[in-house]
């Protein structure tokens, strides 16, 4: 990371931004406090890795508990219903993926495991899965209120 002073923010604005967009810029304020400039995507990635790591710790701790709360497992809430051995396998896989994610500064390896292992969207809440809702409603598992042709849209705000 390249280091700048507070006055560089006006005198070397472009250089500070370029450094921030690259490996990062350290800007030392007049009172000595150092501010870091990095791409927002990197910050987002690191925060996500932090959240996943917290969930991973909860998942690991759950292996020693008799009862597991879905809320405690956060990102892995859906695994609360799994038997202990299956959770242990998931924890090993997530642990490897988190180690890789930390070295890459990118949560993608963990997200890939989540995508593969987590249940489909309609099992989390069918209301948020259009295909599942369409199937339910098309199969007549609801009370019909109107039978006429669907009306045309009217704009609300334009």
């Amino acid at each position: 990371m390249k280091t700048f002073t507070a006055s560089d923010l006006s005198q070397q604005r472009r250089a500070v931004l370029e450094a921030g967009r690259g490996s990062g810029a350290l800007v030392r304020d007049t009172d000595g406090e150092v501010v870091v400039v990095v791409p927002a995507s990197l910050l987002n990635h690191l925060e996500r890795i932090g959240d996943l790591s917290r969930s991973f710790v909860a998942l690991t701790q759950s292996l020693e508990a008799d009862a597991v709360s879905p809320a405690a497992l956060a990102d892995f809430a859906w695994a609360a219903q799994w038997p202990r051995a299956r959770r242990a396998r998931l924890a090993r896989e997530i642990g490897d993926a988190i180690a890789l994610a930390v070295s890459l500064k990118d949560p993608a390896p963990v997200e890939a495991v989540l995508d593969r292992c987590s249940p489909p969207l309609h099992e989390l809440n069918p209301r948020f899965d259009g295909e599942a809702m369409w199937k339910v409603l098309s199969e007549g598992e609801h009370e019909q209120l109107a039978g006429r042709r669907t009306p045309k849209r009217r704009r609300l705000s334009k």
Binding site: L121, L124, F128, H142, A146, T150, L156
Partner: protein, 148 residues
């Protein structure tokens, strides 16, 4: 108000959203989903649009989504104005913008969405779009439907 697709970098903003105090069940459901499973929607393909509304200062106003449920049929699983921004008329604009995106997913087709029968504001707005309540689920959600 600007409505745009949610990007990965926006996900952390949802953690900062104030949850609705004493919320009705339909708000709980959408807020839960946004807090806990937004990453599902953020991995959007061409058949899904996860949208974020913000003001000129970048303050979050709301979140909505639409997706292709079947050929020519778009589904709107959520239209939410965040707690601090309610009662300012944003829901009307957000629903309209979401229907615009839904029309891109299902041009010439239809759209449907569910509104809890006690959600008076969204029921009224839904009726104003021309949508018709064509069904009712066992847990008191009305299905609104309209054609593009």
């Amino acid at each position: 108000m600007i409505v745009r697709k949610v990007e990965a970098v926006d996900l952390y903003r949802f953690d900062l959203m104030q949850r609705t105090p004493d919320p009705p069940p339909w708000v709980v459901e959408v807020e839960d989903f946004i807090f806990r499973h937004a990453w599902y929607w953020a991995n959007q393909g061409t058949e899904r649009a996860f949208l974020l509304a913000e003001d000129d200062n970048g303050e979050l106003i709301g979140v909505s989504a639409c997706e292709l449920a079947s050929d020519g049929v778009a589904y709107l699983p959520a239209v939410l104005v965040v707690y601090e921004q309610r009662r300012q008329g944003y829901a009307r604009q957000l629903l309209d913008e979401t229907l615009d995106r839904a029309e891109l997913l299902a041009p010439g087709g239809t759209a449907f969405w569910l509104v809890h029968e006690d959600n008076a504001v969204m029921r009224r707005l839904s009726e104003e779009t021309g949508a018709l309540a064509t069904g009712r689920t066992e847990d008191a959600y009305l299905r609104f439907e309209l054609a593009f």
